[in-house]
Amino acid sequence: MQLLRRVYRFGSTKHRFASDITSTNRQKMNLFQAINNALDIELGANPKALLFGEDVKFGGVFRCSQGLNEKYGTDRVFNTPLCEQGIGAFGIGLASVGYTAIAEIQFGDYIFPAFDQIVNEAAKFRYRSGNQFNCGSLTIRSTWGAVGHGALYHSQSPEAYFAHTPGLKVVVPRDPIQAKGLLLASIRDKNPVIFFEPKALYRNAEDEVPLDDYELELSKAEVVQQGKHITLIGYGTSIRVLKEASKLAEKDGVSCEIIDLQTIYPYDGQTLVDSVKKTGRCIITHEAPQTCGMGAELSAFIQEKCFLHLEAPIKRVAGYDTPFPLVHEPIYLPDKFKIYEAIKQSVNY
C-alpha cells in the first residue's frame, strides 16, 4: 500500500513548551476556535483525515467544527447517527486501514457505550496482533468537566477510567494555545489518544494563539508557575483554580509551584518528582471523585520516588465520592478555598 507522504511533517514544528514558539503570526482565539484551527490544519494537510460525530456537520454543539464541512466536504466531515459505540468502533476500523480518524463524542458522559470498544479493541489492537495492525491514527475528542450547571450527565471527568488502560493515551489541555498544540500532537501520535476538552473553557479561555502548524509534546508536564514551598498538580480547568489558590497562599508567604499534567496517561513522572524533591510537599487536584482518581495514582507514584523528601503527606483535593450533583455543584467541586486549606494543612504539618 502506497503510504501518503505527510507533507505537513515538514511544515509542522514540535515544541516542548508553548513559550518556545517564537512565531508572531498570532490571533486572539478562544478554546473552541483553537480546536477548530487545529482541525482545519490537519484536514488541510492530511487528505486521509476524517472528522465525524454527532452534529459535527453544522459546526458542532460547541462550534468546534464550524466551517469545516463547507471547506472539506461531507466525504470528510460528516454526521453519524446517535450511536457512541458505533462511532468509537467505526473510528477504530478506519484507523486500522490507515485513515486519520477523529471521532467526536459530544459529552464525556456519553462515552461509556463506546467504553468496551475503546478499552478492549482500540487499546489492545497493536498488542494482540503482534504489531501487524494498530489503530494509532485514531483520536477521540470529547468534552469534559464541570460547566456550572451540567449536573449528573453533562459534567463528568472520566479520564481515570481510560488512564487505567495501557495502550491508550489521555490528554487534557488547560488553555487554547496548549489545546491546539496538544490536539495536533494527539492526532499525529501513532497511538490511540483520547483528548478531553474542558467545556467550561470553550468560550471563557482566550489567548493569542499562533496560526502556524505546531505540536506540543505528549507525555510532558509543564511547570506553569515556579514556587519553593509546595507543589500543586492539576490539569484542565483545575489549573485556573490552583492559580487562584496560590494567590491566597502567597499572602501567607507560601510560594506554590503549579504543574499542569497535560498528558494524563502516560504521565510525565520526572517533572513531578523533580518538583516535589525541591518543595517537599504536594497537593493533587481534580474534579473527578477522589477514590481511584488520578490523584490516587500520582500520590502513590510520588511517595514511592520522593519518600525521604516529603515533609508532609501528599493531599488530594478532589470531588466527593458521589455522582456529580445538580444544585450542590459549588460544594462538590474542589475550589480555591479547599485547595488553600489543604496548602495550609500541608505547610503546617
Binding site: 454527532e54 453544522f58 454543539v61 458522559d109 450547571h149 478555598f337
Partner: protein, 372 residues
C-alpha cells in the same frame, strides 16, 4: 386535519381515526373510529393545556436563569402523553428519556413539584437532586427520566420481564425518540423481548429530528415502526390523542397475548432539542409555524369541542386561564422554596448514608461527620 365527526347520540361523540400503517399486522385488527364524550373532551383539553402552559412557563424560567442546566421541552407533543394516560393504568410501567415533564405531571406529580425540581428546590419531585431529566414516581410505576440516550430501553425491557414473571396483567411502555432508534441497545432489548414474549411496548416519538439531524440523515430505514424486524409495528399520528389512546389499548392487549410491539407516533416539537438549541438552524421558522397552524394537538381537540358545541370559545378561554393560573401559582411557590441542604450531596449514594465531612463554601457552613 379535520376528520368527519358526528353526534351519534346525546352523550357520545364519534371520532374518525386517521389511517394506520402496519407491519406484520392486519389493518382490520385496528379500529377506524372511536367514541368520546363531552366530559372527556374537556378533560383532555384542560390537561393538555396545563401541560402546554407548564412547558412554556419552564421556558420563561430558563430565560430568567431560574432553571439552569439542560432543559428539554415537549410542547407540541402533549397528545402523546394524554393518550398514554388515557389508555394505560398506573399499574402499567412507563419509562422514558429526558423529555419527561408532561409524563411526570400525568403520573401524579403536581406542577409545583415538577417546576420546583427543575429549579433544584427541596420540594421538587426528586428532592431537587435530579433536575429536569430525572423525574420518577414509584407509586404510579413511572420509572423516569433518563439522560443517556437509549439507556432506558433495555431497562424497560427488564421491567416488562418482571411483569410477565409475576404474571401481572400489565405492560411496560418504553418511550424513546427517533435519534435513540439508532442505538444498538434497542435491538439487543427488542430481541430479548421477542424471544421471551415480553409485554413491552417500544414507543417511538418521531418528531423528525434527532437534535439537529433529520431522520433521513440519521436512519437508513426511517419507517421506525418496522425497525423491530419480526416484531409487529404500527405507525400513527401522535398529534391525535384518540389515535394514541386506541393504539395503546390495542398494543396492551397484543402484548399480554403475544409479545412486544413497536409503535411509531409521528409528532413535532415546537422548541429545539433543548434550550441550548434555537431549533431553527436545521428547520425553517415557517415549518414550525405551519406545524402549529395545521397539526397542533390541542387545536385538534378544541375544534371537535367547538364543532360539537360542547363548549364555546369563552368557556375554553376560561379553562386556559385556570390552567395558566395554576401554573403561575406553582411557579411563585417554587421560587421561594429552599434548595436541598448540603447534607443531600452525600445521601442516597448507597443504601446506607455514609458519614462525610462536607466542606461548605464558607468554612462555618461545613457539615462535620457525626462522631462514631
Amino acid at each position: 386535519m379535520i376528520f368527519r365527526i358526528s353526534r351519534s347520540c346525546f352523550s357520545s361523540i364519534s371520532v374518525k381515526l386517521p389511517p394506520f400503517k402496519v407491519h406484520h399486522l392486519e389493518l382490520d385488527q385496528l379500529p377506524q373510529t372511536t367514541t368520546t364524550t363531552s366530559a372527556e373532551l374537556l378533560a383532555y383539553y384542560k390537561s393538555m393545556q396545563l401541560q402546554r402552559r407548564m412547558e412554556i412557563a419552564c421556558d420563561n424560567l430558563y430565560k430568567q436563569r431560574l432553571i439552569r442546566g439542560f432543559l428539554h421541552l415537549a410542547d407540541g407533543q402533549e397528545s402523546i402523553y394524554e393518550g398514554l394516560h388515557a389508555a394505560l393504568t398506573f399499574d402499567d410501567c412507563v419509562i422514558t428519556a429526558y423529555r419527561d415533564h408532561c409524563i411526570a405531571l400525568l403520573r401524579g406529580d403536581t406542577p409545583h413539584q415538577i417546576i420546583a425540581e427543575m429549579m433544584a428546590k427541596q420540594t421538587g419531585s426528586t428532592k431537587g437532586k435530579g433536575g429536569s431529566m430525572h423525574y420518577y414516581k414509584k407509586a404510579t410505576n413511572f420509572y423516569g427520566g433518563h439522560g443517556i440516550v437509549g439507556a432506558q430501553i433495555p431497562l424497560g425491557t427488564g421491567l416488562a420481564f418482571a411483569q410477565k414473571y409475576n404474571k401481572k396483567p400489565n405492560v411496560t411502555l418504553i418511550m424513546f425518540g427517533d435519534g435513540a432508534a439508532n442505538q444498538g441497545q434497542l435491538y439487543e432489548a427488542a430481541n430479548m423481548a421477542q424471544l421471551w414474549h415480553l409485554p413491552a411496548i417500544y414507543f417511538i416519538e418521531n418528531n423528525l429530528f434527532g437534535m439537529g439531524t433529520s431522520i433521513d440523515r440519521a436512519s437508513a430505514n426511517t419507517k421506525f415502526y418496522t425497525r423491530g424486524d419480526v416484531i409487529p409495528g404500527i405507525q400513527i399520528d401522535g398529534n391525535n390523542v384518540f389515535q394514541v389512546r386506541e393504539t395503546l389499548k390495542f398494543a396492551k392487549k397484543h402484548c399480554l397475548e403475544k409479545g412486544p410491539i413497536f409503535i411509531e407516533a409521528m409528532t413535532y416539537r415546537y422548541h429545539g432539542h433543548s434550550m441550548s438549541d434555537p431549533g431553527v438552524t436545521y428547520r425553517t421558522r415557517e415549518e414550525v409555524q405551519q406545524q402549529r397552524k395545521t397539526r397542533d394537538c390541542i387545536n385538534y381537540v378544541k375544534n371537535i369541542i367547538l364543532e360539537n358545541k360542547v363548549a364555546d370559545e369563552h368557556q375554553l378561554e376560561e379553562i386556559d386561564n385556570t390552567a395558566q393560573n395554576e401554573i403561575d401559582i406553582a411557579v411563585e411557590q417554587a421560587k421561594v422554596d429552599p434548595v436541598p441542604p448540603s447534607t443531600e450531596l452525600t445521601t442516597d449514594v448507597y443504601v446506607d448514608n455514609q458519614n462525610h465531612f462536607i466542606r461548605g463554601i464558607l468554612y462555618k457552613d461545613s457539615i462535620l461527620p457525626k462522631s462514631q
